[in-house]
């Protein structure tokens, strides 16, 4: 009574999304049944259709949300960046750890569905990651040492870094926050970033 009909609808839509995200964490979207989700939410199975036509469509909505937090991650990294290489690296990894902690369900979801999800979901994720690579490539072009790089080399380095960060995120989600293992993973990530960026100063496009 305190709320309008659209508010009610939105609320159960959220509940469905949250339940699906939580349940898919136990295995995968493709192993998730409409009835499980409905039971978890506390609605009757057929009510599910008032919000989504299928689990796959639900998955696409989840991908959108997960990719949003991925973009937030990039933005936070950019915002926190110092100008010294050391600062950039330390700051980026700190932000990564923090964001994965705060939204580990989303990162786990991306890792799981990236190769195992329904086709449409996979494609959506791949497009999102590609977008991140493109954004990062632009950031990289503002770094000292990349003045004469070709666009393609910038993209290639970007892909390398994004790949390493995705792998790091995948490792982080499997680990408890604040643990010693988490620190080791962060340390490895910092070292890897340094290794990749050391190359930057020496690199000349085409050679």
């Amino acid at each position: 009574m305190t709320d309008t009909r659209v508010e009610r609808k939105e609320r159960t839509r959220r509940a469905i999304l949250d339940a699906a995200l939580a349940l898919s964490g136990e295995s995968t979207l493709v192993a998730l049944s409409l009835r499980q989700v409905a039971k978890e939410v506390g609605i009757v199975p057929t009510a599910f259709y008032r919000h989504f036509a299928s689990i796959e469509e639900l998955g696409l909505a989840l991908v959108d949300e997960a990719l949003d937090t991925l973009r937030v991650l990039l933005r936070e990294i950019r915002r926190s960046a110092g100008h010294d290489y050391r600062d950039i690296i330390d700051g980026s990894v700190a932000v990564l750890v923090e964001q994965v902690r705060a939204h580990h369900a989303h990162f786990g979801f991306i890792a799981r569905e990236r190769f195992a999800g329904p086709t449409a979901v996979r494609q959506a994720i791949e497009r999102g990651i590609e977008l991140c690579e493109r954004e990062l490539a632009v950031d990289l072009s503002h770094l000292p040492g990349t003045d004469r790089w070709s666009d393609q080399d910038l993209r290639t380095l970007s892909a390398l870094i994004v790949g390493a960060m995705v792998t790091t995120a995948e490792r982080l989600v499997a680990v408890e926050p604040g643990s010693a293992v988490e620190l080791r993973i962060a340390d490895t990530a910092r070292t890897q970033l340094r290794m990749m960026l050391i190359g930057v100063q020496r690199w000349r496009s085409n050679s």
Copy 2:
């Protein structure tokens, strides 16, 4: 009649493994039913139990085989290695492309189940990849320029390279052999390896 009982058994076991590998390519192991596999093989569902206690156990057998071809990949790379950095890189990527072509079902399987598979399968894959990192670290220690590296830094670089190669493999399986895209992926992989290895000459452990 021409064959003994153990041969027969082994033959249908193989058929089950092959069918499961093929069918899991459409989605995931966790979305694969015992009955689907049985139907594909041409046996009655209950006959499945003569070979595996569950789909998960079947999955573990598949992991073993997939990890075998991963080890073959490493061995082939080592065998084909020149002593010049350029040779090593070109040769390694060539072997990678060739192996992924020849066993793309296995590489796809690893990519899919690595994060989305049953727990035991995920762990087995992670252990296998870790083993590859360790092996590669030893190879790296024989490279010129890594004389004074700490073991940990060798492992870290190894993890970086393995991660990039896994990502490359994941991209290769999604692409048709001999296509222009495949060439581009291989080219990117070569560049990335060069970028990583350029750092090797400049790197000093702890700094």
